[in-house]
Symmetry: C2
Subunit: 439 residues, 2 copies
């Protein structure tokens, strides 16, 4: 007998009682833990500030979400400690075929961790939510903070719906996802796709459902299927699915902010990966080259990076970037057909299909499907009140210095304007084609 | 907290264990109990034979449904007794505003009832399922027998589906029903509609869901809404919804079979209603005039029948029949705008809409929505294996004499061919326009 949850009923019941959104410290992305271990080893004492930013200003979160409820949810996360079973799973599990991925000193740190305090203010209809303190602690706020805001917004919109309206809403969302899964299955047995949707999920239960639907509909990759896993550790643990992920922008952003000279700044993204190279191999050696422009990053990269397993494409025109990377690998004497390219920027079925068909056989394409896997309720309620929106939680300062991210899409750039200009000069980033940030 | 059931999970679990389909003697249509009481009073010792007939021969039930499983389900019904709470509900409830609808001697009979034995054989890929014995006992097999065969067929088709495929199947069916409910709501606040879908439901849990969705989506009539109730007593009791229904073809069919002369035969349908008239008033005084042709029935009807509350249209062309009835009421000095006309033949939203718009204001139209409320899974599985089909369980003989039903649609006629001809002569039924029996 398989346990199950009737999502609509749970949502209906939310109307009467507090129901914690984040119930576990490992209800977070696997790569946060990998990065945290790296930070804990290499830069444990850096003081950072993370800030939650809603890029979709039209959604006035402070009008939708009650401040008291938000504080209760955030306080609940601060009350969490790593549970014994979670610790056992992290210590004992095999990730990417490797045992004891997490060092003992890091596990001890995690077992004793309480997330640091938060600061919350309302401004212009938005919440200003910031965290600061030691980097390895503060960084673990990112995912729960995003998940809480996303789900409180869902709950706010669902609050006035009747029980059967809710059931039908979820019925429609399930039908929609299943049709996407059927379309993905039609792409053939070589597809490789993962759930990257924790941060902007509609709700925890919904992500859990989506992951299981992917697992059943596409088959798990370790049994010959197409579904390679979920970024969410808690769901991976509970559903016995592979946890996956590698690294993200916060590493080069913080390393860059700590640079004293332009020369150091220019080397910062490579320094991150040199630290990573020491610790990991195989599927964990995936570059994320776009923090300060992919072209400049590849042009200036040391040769040992060309030997890495692959790269992740998270902004800009994915076709142009992948073509550039293919040419770059060839120029460094590497065989692109053996390289993993993970697409993870605003994907939905049409993009996945088109990228898969274009690059199959030329590289090993793989897909990290995020928001439109775990939060596609577009058009399902009046006023489209459940459409996903662009919420991020980023490192904004390190040891008092502001951070900057450029990416391959100027619409995704973050940081003070004058610093953005300076970084563009240092990294040789010229005009970029703006692309709509979908989610 | 409202209890709920995840239908897909229950279906999934059916795969491993026996799960009784009919779990209560009142999981039956309310009018069976009303008719049973009438029979118990007026014709308790008539010996009848009921037979289950699948009019959709292309669906080879004996190939789909395991005989052992079918016997287990039928045996389970024979193990049922009226539960204390059920008896209390029948004795104490108000039906159509009237208390103590059921007489004490009848309740005692019901409390002691065990359904009689059944006979089951396979022939030409179909099951021959027959019941015989005393009329008030045998007649109560009709609904559970139909519900069991319908649901075993659903289970057989669903058996090889995965858990998430099942969830999506139900998600699609829920979405479809909700869209129908939204279309019905758009017809305006005067609509009156009931669930008549017990006998050909997809499953008990699905009917239960459909009734609740109707209740939430259309509002209950006793609180100003459009949903006037369900024919299913168990669901009515559990969900605190009005139980509704009046009488059916078996009464005139058996009375007719017992007639010794053509004159008695001609009077049989009126004799049924004379017995009924004695016992009931108000919303229970609804004629079902089509057993041997509506026109002849109305033309020959005594004047007191014109004073009844209304009629039910269950075969033939509903527009022509209603127009005929309107003219008939006028000819008898009655005001048709005060008459209830209950449409119950193969309805779906389009027919409901068209009949409602045509007859609103001219009569009081009302709708008994059956199979396409509780069993619309058309097109939702490969090969359309869940499409509803035309299964009936009818009285085929009374005291050894075969029964006959003509109805207003020759495709629905039942009985030996030579007797059908004889009945047609006696009741003056000429050529009838055949209409496809949809469900």
């Amino acid at each position: 007998m398989i346990p199950t949850v009737d999502i609509a009923t749970r949502v209906y019941n939310h109307k009467w009682k507090i129901d914690p959104i984040v119930r576990s410290l490992i209800d977070t992305d696997f790569y946060k833990l990998l990065m945290c271990q790296s930070v804990f080893r290499n830069r444990p004492d850096v003081d950072v500030e993370f800030s939650l930013i809603n890029r979709t200003k039209a959604i006035r979160l402070a009008d939708l979400i009650d401040e008291g409820e938000l504080r209760e949810q955030l306080d609940h996360v601060r009350s969490l400690r790593l549970a014994r079973g979670e610790s056992t799973w992290l210590r004992g599990n095999t990730f990417y075929g490797k045992r004891q991925m997490f060092r003992s000193d890091f596990m001890t740190f995690l077992e004793n961790l309480q997330l640091p305090e938060y600061e919350l203010q309302k401004k212009d209809g938005q919440y200003e939510l910031t965290f600061h303190g030691r980097w390895p602690e503060v960084m673990l706020w990112e995912i729960p903070a995003l998940a809480i805001i996303m789900e409180l917004r869902s709950r706010a919109v669902l609050r006035d719906m009747g029980r059967f309206e809710l059931q039908v809403l979820y019925a429609r969302a399930m039908t929609r996802l299943w049709e996407k899964i059927e379309a993905l299955r039609a792409l053939g047995p070589d597809l490789r796709i993962a759930d990257f949707g924790t941060r902007r999920r509609h709700s925890f239960l919904w992500q859990d459902w989506c992951v299981q639907a992917m697992s059943e509909g596409l088959g798990n990759a370790d049994q010959g299927g197409r579904f390679i896993g979920t970024s969410n550790c808690l769901i991976a643990m509970r559903r016995d699915i592979e946890a996956i992920g590698t690294n993200a922008h916060e590493l080069p952003m913080v390393y860059a902010a700590l640079a004293d000279t332009d020369a150091e700044l220019r080397q910062a993204p490579y320094k991150v990966l040199a630290d990573w190279h020491e610790e990991h191999d195989g599927n964990l050696r995936i570059m994320l080259p776009d923090t300060y422009g992919t072209r400049g990053f590849l042009d200036g990269a040391p040769d040992w990076l060309a030997g890495w397993t692959g790269l992740r494409v998270d902004s800009g025109d994915p076709v142009a970037i992948t073509e550039y990377a293919i040419a770059w690998w060839k120029s460094r004497g590497e065989d692109p057909t053996q390289k993993l390219v993970i697409f993870s920027d605003g994907l939905d079925v049409a993009e996945i299909k088109s990228l898969f068909e274009r690059f199959r056989g030329r590289v090993k394409p793989s897909f990290g499907w995020g928001t439109l896997l775990t939060n596609d309720f577009r058009g399902l309620v009046p006023g489209d009140g459940l459409a996903p929106f662009s919420l991020v939680c980023k490192a904004v300062a390190a040891n008092g210095e502001p951070t900057v991210k450029l990416s391959d899409n100027p619409a995704k750039a973050t940081g003070p304007a004058e610093l953005i200009e300076h970084y563009k000069q240092v990294f040789g980033v010229g005009e970029q084609a703006a692309q709509t940030v979908r989610v």
